[in-house]
Symmetry: D2
Subunit: 113 residues, 4 copies
Amino acid sequence: MESLKQKLREFAKARDWEQFHSPKNLVMAMSVEVAELMEHFQWLTQEESRNLDTETSEKVRREIGDVMVYLVRLADELGVDPIAAAEEKVSINEARYPEEKVRGSSKKYNEYE
Amino acid sequence: MESLKQKLREFAKARDWEQFHSPKNLVMAMSVEVAELMEHFQWLTQEESRNLDTETSEKVRREIGDVMVYLVRLADELGVDPIAAAEEKVSINEARYPEEKVRGSSKKYNEYE
Amino acid sequence: MESLKQKLREFAKARDWEQFHSPKNLVMAMSVEVAELMEHFQWLTQEESRNLDTETSEKVRREIGDVMVYLVRLADELGVDPIAAAEEKVSINEARYPEEKVRGSSKKYNEYE
Amino acid sequence: MESLKQKLREFAKARDWEQFHSPKNLVMAMSVEVAELMEHFQWLTQEESRNLDTETSEKVRREIGDVMVYLVRLADELGVDPIAAAEEKVSINEARYPEEKVRGSSKKYNEYE
């Protein structure tokens, strides 16, 4: 992760692209990549989405790479460690969604009485 | 990263949420989290987005955690290593965007003659 | 539609919000509203999404209103008539997707041989 | 609008695409189109986004058409009139954002004391 972050930072610097990499722009770019990933799933059933053919799998893998690139780049510009931020979020979610209360339900935490 | 992946897998399993975690659903959930992150930036100038106040920084950090959670979860369901996928994408982009050709320009690789 | 466009224009003007309503910002705001709409569908099956309960229907209706608000506002700032633009797109799609060729298939137009 | 709605309904029916047009799928498709629109703005300054060149304007116009197509199609499947829903939302927003209170500020309605 650290090595990926450094590589992306140098990639942007070498191309003089830091001027474009404001957090505002990077979040837009990440959102566009997420949509390119989503496009592969939009007409599939959930079952089909669990069983992609080889060609689609390869395309999806590349789009996941693109999303990750922008997420790491954005987090770096904001001084955030994305893995640490995710770990923290898991702890919050463990408190919000106690196992016995939410088992098998997809409701949002503020929808349980 | 490996530890985060395992934790998320167990989190879903313990709540019997694997049934909801089809790649189709997970990409939608990730897209929603990206939008929650984007909401903090929508009315800011680029300059302001580089200088967030403490409160917004903290919220943004949590949203980055959420995006990361779903990206890791989705990649796990698809058998993809997101860091490796990103590294591969960087190699592709190095070929697509040679430094001397693209320096200081934000055009897409297929827009250069 | 014309009346809605005027109303939204005056709404922004009366609040001195035109400064925030650059196309760049408006497209971000629209994307955020689309995600708020999508959130209601992320864990549903397709069948469930066709049969929403009354409460969800009402929320979804309001989110559709929000998306429409920003789409009309954005189109106005860009001097585009969204209905005319959609009509044109239908004509293009009629040529791209001839009935006999695409019936019952969800492939993209450039995926047919 | 009524005519566009009918045309889109027949377009889907003639291609036997109604099976793919669940609200869940349509909201994904709309989100993908919004991202294709957003892609044109991601590296632009706000000023540049107000002054698109002719070629970009034409592309943006077509993407607005695509978003409108899916918004009308989705609203039709859900039995919602998007213009009426937007008008209602304007009324709600007029109460939430009184002119004298919010003038020149981009805060969210629940951020005013």
